[in-house]
Structure formats: C-alpha cells, structure tokens
C-alpha cells in the first residue's frame, strides 16, 4: 500500500506536549506530495493504532523525553528505540503512545514507524509551549519533509506492480 501518514500526538493543554499537533499545523501550510496524509491525533494516542494496521510508512511527531536539551529534535525508527511505558498509566485517559507502539509490535502490525521526537522543557498542565520547543518546530517540519522526500521516492515513484 502506498502513502505516508504523518501523525501529531500530544495534549495541547499540557505545555510542550502540544508540539506534535503544532508541527502538523505547520505542515498544513507546506506543499506536500499527494501521498501524504496529515493526521492530528491530539491526546487520543489509542486512536493512532488504527493508522498502523496498513503496510504504510508512518511518521509520528511527539514530545519525547530523550535525555537531550529542550528543543532537540531527533528522528529515529520506532524499532530502534526502547520506548518506556511510564508505570501506572493504563487507563482510558492514560493510554499513551508508548503503549500503542508496544501494542502495535505485539500485534505485528505492518506499518513502518519513524518517530520525530522533540525534547520538551515542561509538560505541566497549561497552554503555551516553551520558547525552546516553539523554536524547534521548523526543524521538526524539516525533519518530516526530509522523511517524506526519501519515502516518497520509494512509495510514489515505485513502478506500478505488473498485472499478471
């Protein structure tokens, strides 16, 4: 299946956790190939699971605690990182992306997931992101676009399968 799904995850009322949806908003103003679908999942991380059920390339943009300075942007395949499930978070409100990635792995869902993580300064309740994270949005957008460029070559430019 063709296509690239870019999914922003995060609670817009939890400080820098808003960065995932903010990057999706910034991407809406960019010229992207038709095979790209922009999805804002907000705080509904569980809703991300259904987008992983197809054999597509998925880019998840989210605030991630990666032991870097606030505003650092890192791109990595989900399979290469050990995403820790923060204890006690299992509830309908609290199903986080970590659970979802683990579930996808256990269910052997076919999507190839790349994460664009942005190191937050604070995810305390309240609206508004820190300066470091706001300043990182263009870099996160660049990172997504560079994935789109390389994936698009693979996804869109691939010769149509020969009919037998």
């Amino acid at each position: 299946m063709k296509g690239i799904r870019i999914i922003g995850v995060g609670n817009e009322m939890a400080g820098d956790d808003a960065v995932g949806p903010a990057v999706i908003e910034a991407l809406r103003g960019r010229a992207l190939p038709e095979c790209v679908e922009l999805i804002c999942a907000g705080a509904d991380a569980l809703g991300v699971l259904e987008y992983l059920e197809d054999d597509v390339s998925v880019v998840i943009v989210d605030a991630a605690r990666m032991a870097r300075a606030p505003g650092n942007v890192l791109t990595f395949p989900a399979a290469n990182a050990k995403v820790n499930i923060v204890a006690d978070a299992w509830s309908l409100h609290g199903i986080g992306l970590a659970h979802v990635l683990k579930l996808a792995e256990q269910m052997r869902l076919p999507a190839r997931v790349t994460i664009v993580g942005i190191e937050p300064a604070s995810v305390q309740p309240g609206q508004g992101m820190s300066l470091a994270v706001v300043a990182a949005i263009p870099k996160a957008v660049d990172s997504v676009e560079s994935i789109v460029r390389s994936e698009c070559e693979a996804a869109c430019a691939a010769p149509a399968p020969r009919r037998s």
Binding site: V9, G10, N11, A14, D17, A43, D44, A45, L46, G47, L49, E50, E53, D62, A63, A64, R65, M66, A67, F76, N80, A81, K82, V83, N84, V86, A87, D88, A89, W90, S91, L92, H93, G94, I95, G96, L97, A98, H99, K102, L103, Q106, M107, R108, I115, G117, P120, V123, P125
Partner: protein, 437 residues
Amino acid sequence: MTTEKTFDINVHHVTRVEGHGNIVVNVKNGKLEKCELAIVEAPRFFEAFLRGRSWKEAALITSRICGICSPGHQLTSLKATEDAMGIKVSEQTLLLRKLMVAGSFLQSHVLHVYFLVSPDLVGQPSVIPLASSMPDVVKRALKLKKLSNDICDVVGGRAVHPITMIPGGFTKIPAADDLKKLRDRIVEAIPDIIATVELVAALAGKLPNFTRETEYISLGGGNGEFPLYDGQICSSDAGLTPDKNYRKMTNERVVRHSSSKHTAVNRSSYMVGALARCNNNAGKFNATGKKAAAALGYTAPCFNPYFNNVCQVIECGQIVEDALGWIDKLLATGLKEEPVSVKPRAGTGVGCTEVPRGILYHEYTYDDNGMVVDANCIIPTGQNLANIDEDMKKLVPEMIDAGKSKDDITFALEMLVRAYDPCISCSVHLLDVQFVE
C-alpha cells in the same frame, strides 16, 4: 487462616482506572481495622467556573469535566438548562441525543472491558501480552471503538466534546446518507458484539464469587425503553422519584479520606452504573440485551459488584439494537433542519441522565439574563465511592477467613475497584525513550 495475621495493604495509585486512588487496608491479629479507597485527586471546581457564565456556555464548559463522558455531561447540562428555561425539544432532537448516548456508552464500555478488565480475567498485567496472543481480539475492540467514535462524530460534529448540540436542539443535523452508512456499520458490528459477549461469557467464571446486597440507583420508569437518557430516578429500595428530588437521592457529604464527596440514601451506601441499571431495568431488555444476559449468566437482581463488567457487555448489545431502531425512526420521518430560538429567563433546572459509569445530575440556577448563578454537578464515580468502601469491608474479612494470602486480597481489591470503572481524572501522555546502543 492466612499465615500473616497482621498486615497492611497500600496500593498507591490503583492501575487501569481513570485517575488516582489508593487502597488502604490495615489488618491486626486477623481483624480488619481499616479499609478504604482514598481519592487523592485535587478537586476540580467546575461548579465555581460556571458561575457568571452564559446559558450558551454551560454545556461546553461541563463537557470538559471528562474526555470520555463529554457527550454525557453535555446532554445532562442541556437538560438542566432546558428545564430551567422551560424549553421543549423535538422528537428528532430526542432521537439524535439518544444516538449520542449510544455512541458514548459503546465506546466507554468496549474500551473498559477489553483494555482494563480483560487482563484480570486472563491473569495478565495489561492488555499488551494479549495483543500478541490474540491480535484479532484487540483489533475487534479498536473496530468497535472507531464505530462508536464515528456515531458521536456524525451526530455531534466530533467524537470528543461535541459541537452541534445546544439548548433546544442542534446547530447542524446529520445528513440522511451519513446516518444510513452508520446504520450499515452498526449492522456489520453485530457479529463483533456477539463475539464480545462470547469472550466475556467464557471468562466470567473468573470473576470473584462475592456478593453484598446494596441499594441500586439508576434511571427508571419511562416509556418501556431501557432508560439511559430520560426517565425518573429509580432506587431498588424506594422505587421511582422525579429528578427534582436528586439531592435527597444523593446526600453528598465530605469524608476525611477522600477529596471526592461520598453519598448515601437508604443505606450506608448505594451503587450506580451498569449493574444498577440492569438490576432496576432488566424487564426492559430488548431481544439482544436478553440474549446477552442469558449467555453471560446474568439474572436480576444480582448482588455481585464484579458483575458490573458483565452488565456493561449486556448494555453494548442492548444499545446497538436500540440505536438501529432510533436511526430507522429518524430516516422514516425524514431529517429536517429545525431552527432553535431560545429566550433566556431566570429559573432553576435539573438534568439527569445515565452515563457509562452511572447516573449523573446537573442543576443550574440562572438569572434574568441567562447567566449561571449557582451550579451543582454530582458525578457517578463519587456516588460509588462509599459503596466500594463497604464492599471492601465485607470482602477483606471473608478472604482472611478463607485463608487467602495478602497478594490474593490485594488483587481482589484492585479488581473490585476496576469493576466499578471509576473515572477520577485526566492525565498527560509523554514518550520516555531510551536508545538501544
């Protein structure tokens, strides 16, 4: 007897419930000294936020009490405002609102049963190990979740914190085509509901065999339909009473160990939620509800609080059949735009509906300009807290006498709290990443 005669259980932040609650148990020389569910969440102050706000905003503000029950809070709020201002709604509005209730119940029940309860029944710490052994079961849960979200989306404009519902009616009604598509998808989902009943029926034997009769309070009365949106307050002890009397049917009081108030009516506690609804309204089950109840071994009245989860599954069947009926009625009559014009006026009104976790009350007093002067919201989880404490006080001594270990008792208590599906707060999600070097 247990090997240990003196022990304490402190479950700090019970998992797989919404929000933060601690189980505290002290046993000395085989005798229970203390046993309670301590609620440690901060109060939310929504009633105070509402004061000075407009009648147009009340439902939008109270929707934010909960991300899962947002349609339920809106509907209850709208009913309270309409009651205060003498607004009557059309049959079309009523049916569309009931569809919202259906979507909201289905979503909450499906996720609770599949993701939070089923791990207990198969002896797993969470749903994650189930995902590898039974991926189709998790996929089924997600499919049902998507359907229920889409029901709320089509009717309410979006799945969480809907935007089309206002006092008196709707700002936008769904297109007939969208309702027809929804109908087809609900029909397609019936095998998934049957599979859910079968799955839980196969595991229901794992539910602890514990009973404690209590007072069961839910909506009752009405027109013969299983009441979720309208009706009167029904108590298994005292029968029907109008929703105006809700304060006498709750009696909120402050307790030392909980930041949430406790309630009681005719006994030291009462229960709300799926078990209370089914116990009070089993005579109103439709064919699907009856079939599900029979398959799951439920007969009313049932005094085992762990059966609340079984009743959630019965309600899924019940709701799906009712929702099809409501859509058919809407399509048969033909959907039409109904302009809403409301003149705000002073008054006090009560709204009462069922939400997935039990009966919910909102009461507002408005001034001449339609500004909120006073507000009161009584949430189901708060109403269940005293009952959870009472269940624990009976369960722990029974398990001590049966020689159960501290671990067994702890597990049974956590499972009990989860059976009530308590909804204590909302939380932040953040990825915590370590790189594989």
